[in-house]
Every structure is written in structure tokens, then in C-alpha cells.
């Protein structure tokens, strides 16, 4: 493993950082307050190629490997202060585009990937239900054979991009007796399909510029061609998409942590308390040192996991460890950043408190950190 950045990777990182800093940071506090998704900024990200980073060029992506995708998303997380926008983009790319790219038929790939990579279509991964969250495979949603396709019934909640989605990726029970072992199947459908509703929107504490909603299926018809992979393959397909998501959302967190670190260093070097800048007080400098240590450790874990995405059949343990460590490192770093900024950190206008609110979601989405620890325990033979 060699994580020294190549010249191309450095250019990519710098371009994305410059783009994000210049184009994505207007009116965030206002959009956060109003829970407003910015389609304009989404489109700018897509024009930059961010919606299709690892997807092969023949389908409109950039064909990047896992590690380079991580470097790109780290740069986005660093330059873009709108955590909700970054999250929406990652959910679209990693939980929706990746499974179609990895398991879809040629027809599905040709039909959907160009629009997904261009960002002209937005996708939602409809998985969570009221009675199944982190135990995602214990779902109630059913897809019953009907002619050459399936009739889907059920309600999915907490679906990122749900209210704005053009395309729905969903998983349903096609054989309840088999459950997670051959009984779940993935489908991709246009959100306007008769029998699909994506209207309800949830209000939340953080990532407020990312839309979270419900996706309801009422006798929605999915033709055979809408199936991702083969019947019964849903568990493995969804699991793989979560490995990509857990690893590469963490990459975006690295950028946020780096920005917080730099902001705190700048603040601690100029803010005076008594006769010294606050950075001269060990109570502050040690917090900043811990931020730096967490960032470096988080980057190593994330790069390792991202490198593994292209090389191993499963990166379940690596992605779960990365997700736990990085999301918790981000929460602690954001909390420390608020504390270092004192009363100013508590004010909305500085934006530090927003990052803290955003960071909490990282311990919950893509499977709670408690479930990630269960996964790692399972891989350790416990």
C-alpha cells in the first residue's frame, strides 16, 4: 500500500478544493435554517464530475479507483461547508449508483448511469422501514411476482434524497421464507412510476440541507428488467453498497475534520486571553493536538479501507471500523472546535455548531455505530 498522492491525485484534490471553496459555500446558514436543498449547487457538483467519480467513463463517470475517489471526496468535505449537500451527493453515488454499476444489467447501466453520473437524475436508496433500521434485512416490504415482473408494497422511511428523487433504488422481500439468505431482491424504478410516492419530508437536527423522506410503494409494478442483479441477490448487493458508503462518506469527514483543525489553529493563534493567545494554553493546544492525531489516524484507516474496495470481495470489517472511528472522531473534533471557539462556537453565525449537529448523523446513518461494532465482532469470530 502506498498512499503518497500521485501528481494526478494532487491536481484532482486541489481542483475540487478550489471549486468547493468558491462555488458551494454561499448562504449555508440560511439554507440550513430553512432545510433547503440547493439544486443549483448539486448541478455544479455534478458538472465537476462528483456524481460519478468511480463509475467507468463509458457510462459518464470518471473511472477513479476507490482510493482516488476517497481523495476526491476528502477534498469536497474540506472545501464545502454544506455537510448536507455532501451527504446527499454521497448517498446518491454510493448507495444508489454503485449497486447499479456493480450489479445492474447492461440495459440498466445504459439507461440509468449516464443521468446519475451527470447529476441530471437524483437517486434515493429506499431501505429503512419503521420496523427495520439497522437490522435492515428484517423488512416488511414485499415484491410479489405478477406476470413478467413484481408488484411492490411497503413503506420506506429515512430515505436520503427521497423528496427530490427521480430514481428509486429499493430492496424488497421476494421470498420471505428465505429472508436475508436469498429472499431479498433489489430494484431500480423511476420515482414517477405509478404506485410510488416520495412526498413526505422529515425535519432533523443536522444535515438539514439534505432532504430525508418517505418512499411509499402501493402496488408499484417493477418489470423483470428493473431488477438489480438476479432474484435473491439483494442482501449481498445492499451490503456491498454499504461498504462503499461507510468507507467513502468517512473520506468526506476527513476533509471536514481537516478544516475544523485549521480553523481552530487559526483561531487559537489569534484569540487572546490574558497575556497570551489561547493556543499557548495547554488546555487548548492539547485539544488541537488530539484533533490532529484523530485526523491522521482516521485518514490511514479510511485510505486503507478505500484501497481495499477495489481489491477484496468484501471490505465489511474495514469499512465498519472506518465508519465507527471516523464518525466518532468527527463528533469529538466538532465538539472540541465548539469548546475552543468558546461562546463564538455556540453562535450559529460561525458555523461550528452546525458541523457539530451534522456530525451526529454520522454515528447513525449507514447502520448505527453499535451495529458496526457487531459486524466487526462477527468478523473477529465473537
Amino acid at each position: 500500500m502506498d498512499f503518497a498522492l500521485s501528481e494526478d491525485q494532487r491536481i484532482l484534490r486541489d481542483e475540487i478544493t478550489r471549486f468547493a471553496e468558491n462555488e458551494l459555500n454561499d448562504d449555508i446558514a440560511e439554507r440550513d435554517r430553512g432545510q433547503t436543498f440547493s439544486r443549483e449547487q448539486w448541478d455544479k457538483c455534478a458538472e465537476m464530475g462528483l456524481a460519478g467519480l468511480p463509475v467507468p467513463e463509458q457510462y459518464g463517470g470518471s473511472g477513479l479507483d476507490g482510493l482516488t475517489t476517497a481523495i476526491a471526496l476528502e477534498a469536497l468535505g474540506y472545501g464545502c461547508r454544506d455537510g448536507g449537500l455532501v451527504f446527499s451527493l454521497c448517498a446518491h453515488l454510493l448507495a444508489c449508483t454503485v449497486p447499479i454499476w456493480k450489479h445492474g444489467s447492461d440495459e440498466l447501466k445504459e439507461r440509468y448511469l449516464p443521468g446519475l453520473c451527470a447529476g441530471t437524475t437524483i437517486a434515493v436508496n429506499a431501505m429503512t422501514e419503521t420496523t427495520s433500521g439497522s437490522d435492515a434485512f428484517n423488512m416488511a416490504c414485499r415484491a410479489v411476482k405478477d406476470g413478467n415482473g413484481y408488484r411492490i408494497n411497503g413503506t420506506k422511511i429515512m430515505s436520503t434524497n427521497g423528496p427530490i428523487a427521480d430514481i428509486v433504488i429499493t430492496y424488497s422481500q421476494t421470498d420471505p421464507e428465505k429472508g436475508a439468505y436469498g429472499g431479498l431482491t433489489g430494484f431500480v424504478l423511476d420515482a414517477k412510476t405509478e404506485g410510488i410516492r416520495t412526498d413526505q419530508k422529515f425535519e432533523k437536527m443536522g444535515l438539514r440541507t439534505s432532504m430525508l423522506g418517505e418512499v411509499v410503494f402501493e402496488d408499484a409494478y417493477a418489470p423483470e428488467e428493473a431488477m438489480i442483479g438476479k432474484v435473491g441477490g439483494g442482501t449481498a448487493i445492499f451490503t456491498q453498497s454499504m461498504e462503499w458508503e461507510r468507507t467513502l462518506i468517512a473520506a468526506a469527514h476527513l476533509g471536514t475534520m481537516r478544516r475544523l483543525l485549521e480553523d481552530c489553529i487559526a483561531y487559537a493563534r489569534t484569540r487572546v486571553s490574558g497575556e497570551h493567545t489561547i493556543g499557548k494554553h495547554q488546555a487548548v493546544s492539547h485539544k488541537i493536538v488530539d484533533m490532529k492525531i484523530r485526523l491522521e489516524a482516521a485518514r490511514n484507516l479510511t485510505y486503507c479501507s478505500a484501497w481495499n474496495l477495489d481489491r477484496s470481495r468484501t471490505s465489511a470489517m474495514a469499512s465498519s471500523m472506518t465508519k465507527v472511528f471516523v464518525s466518532e472522531a468527527l463528533v469529538q473534533t466538532a465538539l472540541d472546535a465548539v469548546q475552543i471557539h468558546g461562546g463564538h462556537g455556540f453562535l450559529t453565525e460561525t458555523g461550528v455548531e452546525r458541523i457539530l449537529r451534522d456530525s451526529i448523523g454520522g454515528t447513525l446513518y449507514s447502520g448505527t455505530n453499535e451495529v458496526q461494532r457487531n459486524i466487526v465482532a462477527g468478523w473477529l469470530g465473537l
Partner: protein
């Protein structure tokens, strides 16, 4: 790569399951037809570990839909699946 005749595969997979998932169990209790998934011996994570082992040990690749009862529920089924994949490779 391990031997690929039926008896060798069944013995190798049995040893893997006993060592990894059933430490301390009497090997005699793990029969060729014992249900592994429906019997609660393999859960979703253990299934993935088993797949990883089979792919590495025998140089075969499983598709998403093959991680299921009909391909993995007993030592007999696992062995038949591996043999079928090895035959496809030839």
C-alpha cells in the same frame, strides 16, 4: 489451492466451519446434510466469511444471488456449488 475432489472439499469446508464457527464442537455432529443457515450456524456475517474462504481457497467467484439457502445451507450444497464453479472454469 486445495484438492478439488468432492471428499476433499467437504472435509476442508467442514474443518473451516468447525474451527471458525463451532469451536469445541464434536466434528461428528456436523454432518453433510445438517442445515447451516436454517439451523442458525451461519448468520449473514459468517456467510460472508465462508464465501471469502471459498473464493480464496478454490479461486471461484460467487454472485450476489448465490449467497442463499439453495447454494450454502449444507456441506453437501456448498460442495456441489464449489464443484459446479470449478467445472465452469475449465
Amino acid at each position: 489451492m486445495s484438492d478439488t475432489d468432492r471428499d476433499s472439499i467437504i472435509a476442508r469446508v467442514r474443518r473451516f466451519i468447525l474451527e471458525e464457527f463451532l469451536p469445541g464442537e464434536d466434528p461428528e455432529d456436523l454432518t453433510d446434510s445438517m442445515p447451516l443457515i436454517s439451523g442458525g450456524i451461519l448468520d449473514s456475517i459468517k456467510n460472508m466469511r465462508l464465501i471469502g474462504f471459498l473464493e480464496e481457497e478454490y479461486g471461484v467467484a460467487f454472485e450476489a444471488h448465490e449467497i442463499s439457502f439453495e447454494f450454502l445451507d449444507t456441506l453437501e450444497l456448498i460442495t456441489s456449488t464449489v464443484q459446479a464453479k470449478l467445472a465452469e472454469k475449465k
